[in-house]
Symmetry: none
Subunit: 230 residues, 2 copies
């Protein structure tokens, strides 16, 4: 049996059991060594499968690996399609691609095949791609936001003076064509906003900042008299 087929079988085996299964048992079912089972489980978790393993107990597949059937109304579908199309024009290639695949998944996860409906929605959000933009940094920012990592940026202010700073990203706002990064600035020791087109260099330090982003965002919002949430 090929490795690929075995991985599918392994998922089925995990899905079949309601109580934790030991690797040894799975090894028996799949007719491979225990070590291989560990490696296969590793492969599946890398793929995103929420497999929980507890020492002394066994493995358990939690829900959430596959997309369950989703049922959207027409309005909701239109909202998602329009939103995704707008995202596609926002200049972050990986985010744009993600918008496409997300729509595809939504289309096929429904009981009825909604792909035609999605393609036929008459709603569009055309982009004015300013060619000068170099949106490569966007991905770095998004990832740093997710992971709560610090960023090193070289920033040119209104006057044209360049500074290098380490900042803690809090939020990224998409205005018309422009983007604004809200962050805690280590250089100024305070909250600052950075226009993305003035960030001339960016790299992630890959080190987390000491405060949770949610907490940071809260004080940031209070300082700027922004609505508490959403």
């Amino acid at each position: 049996m090929s490795r690929t087929a075995r991985l599918f079988k392994l998922m089925d085996a995990l899905r079949g059991h309601r109580r934790p299964v030991t690797a040894a048992r799975l090894a028996g079912e799949l007719d491979v060594s225990v070590r291989t089972v560990y490696r296969d489980i590793q492969t599946l978790t890398d793929l995103g499968a929420p497999i929980g393993g507890e020492a002394g107990v066994g493995y358990l597949l939690r829900s959430g690996f596959f997309l369950p059937p989703l049922m959207f109304g027409e309005d909701e579908l239109e909202a998602l399609v329009l939103g995704a199309r707008w995202v596609q024009g926002q200049g972050d290639p990986s985010l744009a691609q993600a918008a496409v695949t997300a729509l595809v998944k939504i289309g096929t996860a429904s009981p009825k095949d909604l792909r035609d409906k999605i393609a036929d929605t008459g709603l569009w959000a055309p982009q004015f791609r300013s060619a000068s933009e170099q949106p490569t940094g966007l991905r770095t920012i998004r990832e740093a936001l997710r992971r709560e990592h610090k960023l090193t940026i070289t920033y040119v202010d209104k006057a044209g003076a360049a500074t290098e700073r380490v900042v803690w990203p809090i939020a990224l706002a998409f205005f018309e064509g422009k983007r604004l990064l809200a962050a805690w600035c280590e250089l100024r020791n305070g909250f600052r906003h950075f226009r993305s087109d003035r960030i001339v260099a960016i790299s992630s330090t890959r080190t987390p900042y000491p405060t949770r982003r949610a907490v940071l965002a809260k004080t940031w919002r209070r300082e700027h008299n922004l609505p508490p949430d959403r």
Copy 2:
């Protein structure tokens, strides 16, 4: 990228196209050689995937899902959330509401850690609600688009002259703050574009127009040298 991950990606790629896709194109998307695509397709069909291939045409994933799509990735979630938030600021109350409920549905279908991520995405699309806008007509337009119904509008052109027309809506484009309705105009007997802020009155006739919107859109696109389709 591992072979297994590529197989999932290949399934997504196949799902993403409604017309047959050539192996060469898939090879480009997956960044592997064409031969490998053939082999991967072979693997998937062996696993039971309903993939149809015709020489001279391309591959097509027949309906009947043999594998549900994988759960949304972080990128996809961010794209959906950001898109939905932008939609919320576009001034169509029912569409905005739909964006919210769609996100909620996605959230309840996701495992808990993803649900947290939805609320905590640091991406925002603030709206500049121009107070003068009266977006009530949006809903009428969207519904007419869906049902392929005719619309009766009173339109004030640049010069200030008002005309009442019956139009066949084709597409609705969301620009920055403004919206543009593309439609077949019975008054002018040709394709016309209407700025939504110049539409002073609107109502649906609730009668369908005689041509399918897809066909209408096709000629409209050709007349305006727009890209043929996604």
